[in-house]
Amino acid sequence: MLLNLSRLPLAFLIVVACSAPPLAAQSDTTESEKFDVDFLLSYYDQDGDHSAVTGGTGTEELQVFSPVIVLGWRVNDNWTISADLGIDQISSASIGNIQSGVSGASIPASDTRTFGTVKAARNFGNHIVGMQIGAANEFDYGSMSFGLDYSINLLKGNTTLSGSFRHYDDTVDLYDIDGINQGEADRTTTDGFVTWSQVLGRRTVGSAELFFSAQSGFLSTPFHEVILMNGDRTTERLPDQRDRFAIGLRLNHSFSPSIVQRVSYRYYDDNWGIAAHSIELETHFRLSGPREMWVFPILRYHTQTGADYFGETGTFTGNEDFLTSDWDLAEIATTKIGVGWTVLALPGEEWMLDLNRFEVRGTFYDRDDGLQGFTTSFAFGWTF
């Protein structure tokens, strides 16, 4: 599907017009102007045997190549404008299976998702107010989003409270389990999150985040198949409303200028029956040398209960109100291990390609139902 972009240019102009810094302010504080450019490159490769497209069985082989460019313009001491634009180039063997032997099927075996966001933020002393708009598009999905942000620094910068609001209006093209377009439907998502960051000592900092989300509309994936007890095929059916809640806790402690321990924990709960715990550990070791250079192992463990509507292949009669064989919604546990490396150039140093910062990260992801994935990401950053 092509996203209806007719409203996007107007929305973009409104955001830029409302956030445009006054010309007088620009000329008074140009020495604080700074421009950041970050280029991110990620590759993901997965496989498994529980494809939702073929009723919870079959290959989940998929590759994603994702370049993203992130721009940040600190116009002066008061104004910051940022934007990101990216592409997910997706190749999926399971999507291609929809087309086999079905005339009129029009789902491509490969897909391109494009996405972008523009943000503007204004600094009022201890307060920062921000606004953003965004859009995303792929062959069967289009999304427009709007967001507001607010933060305040207290107690000599030892405490930061922030709140954010996001609203998404999405349109889904209804390609059924035979790949035939049956029309379109709408979906809305409204998110709110509140974060409290606190300096706990000269070597310790922590944060707590509360997240709430309300979704309504067409929340199923129309080409996800469910194979019934009698062998018949039907489309997954999920409720048209979903409320989600999560709390995230983070704690970073510097044992020395060369060793930093990062710990994070997240609890999640929703009204579809999923409750989850996630814990992540990173121990950062600073390597010797003139530049700030860190290497760190990564470990993450996640466990969740299954959605009330999930069932394995052949467990449904077809008379249920809601049913799915999507293993993303099943009772699962996942483990992620990996390693990362970050380098910061010295101030004023002409490092390779004039980079100011470089990051690389590789992780192996294992889900206990047999799905495995590998992710590698690179980030190159320049400051002008």
Partner: protein, 74 residues
């Protein structure tokens, strides 16, 4: 609000009040806190992994990554 959710705002408020008693660190004492690895936000390269976790797991939120909107994921 569900019964179990009622404890969350109280817990958050209790933690906030507790923090008032935490040591106040002066700007010139924040040398260790300014280390790159002490940043509470995820690094740039973590962003894509957060999206993978949101797609492959039923849980999203409170990690700074993707929420439930803007994608064709559950």
């Amino acid at each position: 609000m569900k019964r179990k959710y009622r404890y969350v705002p109280m817990t958050f408020l209790a933690l906030l009040l507790f923090s008032v008693g935490c040591a106040s660190v002066e700007p010139w004492e924040k040398e260790n806190l300014s280390l790159e690895s002490m940043d509470l936000d995820d690094c740039s390269t973590h962003r894509f992994e957060r999206n993978v976790e949101a797609y492959r797991e039923g849980a999203v939120g409170a990690t700074g990554g993707k929420s439930g909107g803007g994608c064709g994921c559950s």
